[in-house]
Symmetry: C2
Subunit: 247 residues, 2 copies
DNA sequence: GGCTGGTAAATTGTTTACAGTTTTCACAGT
DNA sequence: ACTGTGAAAACTGTAAACAATTTACCAGCC
């Protein structure tokens, strides 16, 4: 009897617990991160509201929240646009992420234990296996999860929340495809070094190792940009939506 | 970067340029930061809307934005509450701020110039003068401006925006008065050392100096908490609003 | 052809109305 | 006194209506 009740609770009860606004926000964020809504694209209120079967009120609340988080830009009387990261801004985000990830390394080095180390090593092995097969579709989520584990395990929830936000923000970068520039094997060598540093108990070394890891990713992006002859200088006009096609 | 706090400018002209939602958000944020709305307090939609002469729609949009920025907490069917930082969360914020401020130091050390150094030294002198007279009301805004100058001059706008947000967040800490625990002279000695480090061109030293400065502030808060016999463990229930009176 | 002006459609900004939930408070029963 | 019950009030959640602005389009003119 009770089992029947647990299952079909989906749509309506979710709305009971979480507000419609929150559900909408999550959905729209997903559309943005997964690329269905491209950077620069405009969000039509009526269209989106009817798509999710709600009115414009909750939708507007959701977009205001997304604006505060930096995922969209609202221009009065013109509409809300998916935020577009210029090269310069993307590089800024890298530096901030490096600082946050460095802090994570510092904190984690102080509380490293066998269980966590084992988990990180398992993740390293899985990534290495995917890298060996050049299986990028497997590697990518594992890589995300690995970094996530490090920051989450650092035990600072404020830090974790900010870190996640900045990682998501990279999806707003127009030349998104270049972000992966580094290649699989290169990255995993750095990962092993990072885990070594975290396990060493040397706080400064862990800090530097994690920081450097992000800075190297930034350097790889810069190299890829140069190879693709993209200048790190453009603006962020939400109007210029058409030229978004990366590489 | 001048704030519009100097003049409450005409309601109507503002609405033409900035949206009503944005104006509301700024006003409510001001009420929170200035303490008129205390941590834990509930925001009545009808009351606030009528106070600012608008309807509930724009007000709700403003509160959603403030929620995303971490200044209020929205509980479904219960209302909006001014966010309340527990001791544990305040300490988390210090660590994140240390990381961000450290990054600012690193970036600034690379682009330090005579003009900027002169400006920082002027600010140091002004603070020292205020400290000598134990003129806290003068010292406090100067101190804020000094740190703001450093982060803003670092040239990373993303970093600057995040830093400002976290500084504001400290106003949500219940035992807010303890945040100033360090005293005036102590702090300024650190400030001079920091400017020295920034001017030295030694990136690592600047980084460490700025980082340490925030960590020392955290340590002073911890000491003050211990002296006041407050345990760093409480939750964040928005209901327990009454016990907010600091020290 | 290209520009200007003006009108209609589309879209956003704001208010109002209604539905559902939580809180309050009086009151009966113990 | 204390506790539980049950309206009534207060408040939030959502939808719909109305107002103001922007955009699209087309005719007329240089």
């Amino acid at each position: 009897m009770e089992d029947n009740l647990t299952q079909p609770l989906d749509d309506l009860t979710v709305v009971k617990t979480v507000s419609l606004t929150n559900a909408l926000e999550k959905q729209i964020e997903r559309l943005i991160v997964e690329g269905e809504l491209a950077p620069g694209e405009r969000l039509n209120e009526i269209q989106l509201a009817s798509r999710f079967g709600t009115s414009r009120g909750p939708l507007r609340e959701a977009t205001r929240s997304l604006e505060a988080k930096g995922f969209v830009e609202v221009i009065r009387n013109r509409g809300v646009f998916v935020r577009q990261l210029s090269v310069a801004e993307a590089l800024e985000v890298y530096d901030v992420r490096a600082a946050l990830f460095g802090l994570a390394g510092r904190l984690l080095a102080q509380k490293m234990n066998d269980e966590l180390l084992a988990k990180l090593n398992r993740q390293l092995d899985a990534m290495e296996a995917a890298a060996a097969k050049s299986d990028f579709d497997t590697y990518y989520p594992l890589n995300l999860e690995f970094h996530r584990t490090i920051v989450e395990s650092a035990g600072n929830k404020t830090l974790f929340a900010e870190y996640l936000r900045f990682v998501k923000k990279m999806h707003l970068f127009r030349a998104k495809s270049l972000v992966q520039g580094g290649g699989l094997a290169v990255s995993n060598r750095e990962h092993r070094e990072m885990v070594d540093a975290l396990a060493s108990g040397d706080v400064e070394r862990a800090h530097a190792s994690c920081w450097r890891h992000v800075e190297r990713a930034k350097a790889r992006l810069l190299a890829a940009l140069e190879a693709a002859q993209i200048q790190p200088a453009e603006g962020v006009s939400p109007d210029a939506a058409k030229s978004a096609s990366p590489v």
